[in-house]
């Protein structure tokens, strides 16, 4: 890629990550949410992959680190669901708002998200999904980018002719 694109891509990725995080955090009161915000965050990493390539990319795309972050996102989602199951009787019961009054007061207060509308565990679920989507979409692009290296193996002009 050109030097101009390389100059812009990395600083722009920070702004994309900021937009993504903002979309995640406002997901329960505005359009957007975990998936959309995670995709916006992933677009920052994808821009860097396209501009710098896989080798000189400023993002650390090691398997261990990516699997760690993605697993943490999935585990947070499952743990929040299990808290609802244990305290409210159903998976992903919103213990922060506690509509049916099934949850102890201390637990309800602990999971109550302190914002304008007190959405309970919904923002935490958005965060878990956002982190997982951020890594998941980045992994997809890495795979596609890596496959293009072997494009010649799949296109046999002689067979097509």
């Amino acid at each position: 890629m050109s030097d101009l694109l390389k100059l812009i891509a990395y600083p722009a990725s920070f702004l994309m990550i900021g937009y993504g995080v903002m979309t995640i955090l406002g997901g329960h009161i505005t359009p957007g949410g975990g998936f959309q915000g995670g995709a916006m965050m992933a677009s920052g990493a994808i821009l860097c992959i396209l501009a710098y390539g896989l080798k000189d990319n400023p993002f650390s795309l090691s398997h261990e680190r990516m699997s760690l972050v993605e697993s943490c996102g999935a585990l947070l989602y499952i743990c929040l669901g299990l808290v609802g199951l244990l305290a409210g009787g159903s998976f992903l019961y919103n213990v922060g708002t506690n509509i049916y009054g099934l949850v102890p007061a201390g637990l309800q207060t602990m999971f109550n998200y302190p914002d304008a509308l007190h959405a309970g565990i919904i923002p935490y679920l958005n965060i878990a999904i956002g982190v997982k989507v951020f890594i998941g979409l980045t992994t997809l692009v890495i795979l596609f980018y890596g496959v293009t290296k072997f494009a010649g193996d799949y296109i046999d002009n002689e067979e097509i002719d």
Binding site: A9, P11, L15, I17, V21, M22, G26, T109
Partner: protein
């Protein structure tokens, strides 16, 4: 018992700082930013090397964009998008603290 006493106290103090800022989303933005910054290389790669002025420029642009965003998405008295700025600051901190070093 400790949680039942401390968490309501913190939430009564913290959620809406002087009617201007919701601290919960701001802290969450910082945490997600740190996670995103931890996915970056600490040392400069062959493709890019940012000096101090470049980092200052990124923060200034982030502050300008946050000002133009206004109070979105939490309509508090502060005419500023704190989640956006805190996410970028978190990414810079996460990169500096948790970023990986490239072996020469």
């Amino acid at each position: 018992m400790v949680l039942e006493t401390t968490v309501p106290f913190l939430q009564s103090v913290g959620p809406n700082l002087f009617g201007l800022l919701y601290t919960g989303p701001t802290i969450c933005a910082l945490i997600i930013g740190i996670i995103a910054g931890a996915m970056m290389h600490k040392t400069p790669t062959n493709g890019i090397k940012l000096n101090t002025s470049a980092w200052i420029a990124i923060i200034i642009v982030a502050l300008l964009v946050a000002f133009w965003l206004g109070t979105f998405p939490y309509y508090t008295g502060l005419n500023f998008g704190p989640g956006f700025v805190m996410a970028i600051i978190g990414a810079i901190i996460g990169r500096a603290v948790l970023g990986t070093k490239i072996k020469a």
